[in-house]
Amino acid sequence: MFKLWATIKKDVRILLRDRVGISLMFIMPVILVVIVTNVQNSTFQLMDKNRLPILICNKDAGQSSQQLITSLDKIGMFKVSQTPKDRNDRQFADDMEKADAMLGIVIPGNFSDRVNTKAKSAANKALTSFGLQGDSLKKRVGGADQLTLFYNPVLQESMRLSIKGALQSALQMVESRQTLKTLYFSINEKSLPDSLENEMLNNRTTINEVPVSKDGTRKVPNATQHNVPAWTIFAMFFVIMSLGSSVVKEKVSGSFIRLKTLPTNYLVGLFSKQITYMGVTILQAAVIFSMGIWLFPLIGLPSLNIPDITALVVATLFCGWCAVSYAICVGVFADTQEQANGFGAISIVILCCIGGLMIPTFAMQGFVKMIANLSPLHWCLEAYYTLFLEGGKLKDILPNLGLIFGITLVIQFITWLGLKRKNLI
């Protein structure tokens, strides 16, 4: 026991004197968490609070186009501004850039006419189907009214799809209003009363959004709840930059020759490194979670809600142990520090990508989704998300912990084989 204690003291001393290693393990992940959470929070706010700037070139003089612009404004998603009607496509694109607008809509000159024609056609068909005689429609209804949507290429497809959905909704509103008015006029020979128009068009069924959680709470997940757990896992696995090269350094340095001549098995040394660096991973998690709780609100980010503390500690221990085991394994197989650092860093980024930290695994398909299951980071993330986003308890993450434990045992076994093969134990 004294040997282990002396070895832990040695490892802690060396670690504390390695300023570059400490900054890689603590400062870099902290910066990463703050930046990524900030960026994602801004994206959420862009859609939620900030309103997306949209520029409209209305070439139409009728009422329908005005109604469309009003509807777009009422959606609450866009900050609407207009540009003169005589702009061509090139000029309009320049106007968008000047106005810093991510989106632009050009409403064609015959927009209101087309909406009216379409409404009359729909009303006639409705009257005919009721057995009433509608006005004969001389004008042929053309194809769908064409609005042109310009967008900045930086807008992601998912965001473009939601914008198109909002635009379709506004358009539907305008067309429905016009159809209703036409139909009412055809039957009653007078205009549709405002009260009835409001009742029929504006009193729409609302959608109640409910996040599904295991603890029955209705907390809405935010950028902090998503990012802090994910990047904490990344930070824990990034100990490879210090631990992997520490193992190689010890192996290739003269001290290892002496260690092999001493009456102590090198496994004591590796066991000490596991304990020391597990302490580091727990400290990393504590620092990043503390930032989420206390620092984030001060810099305008949502505060982190800590889930069931027992489950969180157990999950962190399992994730930390897995991360440390992986780092030691790489260190045992690498022959130089450059190999350990290069392979270590790249492999963590790859495991991070396929593990769902950068792209959600539900968005992955087929083979890639299957590969994701091999990444220990994936199971760590699943465990953390069950706690942080779904309000789960220890029993809810036991299957995930079992898989992390299994992967860790496999890594440890591979490490043992490497130690034997290289005659290190």
Partner: protein
Amino acid sequence: MALKDNLAIDVTDMGFSYPDNPEVSFSNFNLKIEKGERFGLFGPNGAGKTTLMNLMTGLLQVDHGRITLLGHDVGNQDKSVNKLFGFVPQDFSFYQELTPAENLEFFGAWSGLGPKKIKKRTKELLNILGLEDVRNKQVLKFSGGMKRRVNLAIGVIHSPAVLFLDEPTVGVDVQTRHAIIDYLRELNSRGTTLIYTSHQLTEAEDLCEQVALMDNAKIITLGNIHTLLNKHNNGSLEDLFINLTGKEYRD
């Protein structure tokens, strides 16, 4: 012939070769070193001195034959024999980020000592080797001579019965060399067997009683240093060395 009980090292019919370097190949190699000797192992580069030392300390495993150290088989899995010897490699074999005291604490623990014994030995060794004033400074900042003394201190922290020294004074100034050689003599006078390799033949002449000259993984001459010099009509160990191994480059 030496009695078995009186032997520090007994290499019997030992065979060894590197899988990827058959040039250094030991075959039916025999060597006996008595307890309390100051034994020098010399030879040109590539003669097999370091390989032999690695075999005697268990860093390499023999292909056949047997090596015993104070009657115990070397290379046993339980490593119990490793408590009986100390090793001072040619390379600095410690953690440069740590202080001398911290290095001694760690290596003392791995040598099987308890905390009290480590504390006592650390104080003694730092005093004897002139490192007391720098006991809490990182070894990283030390001169070559100071690092050599730290290297030696770690090798003897557990007061081993047999001490292997691979070029313990390489790259140090005259003062440090004298201090190290004096300390080794003192250890030997208290019963420690010294097994020593060096290219500093004048220093070897000064320290060693028994010498073995090696070439091509074979012992070409072995015995008391003065007897050998007389036998071969050479005035110094260096002359004897050149006479027996030639003047050609070896590496």
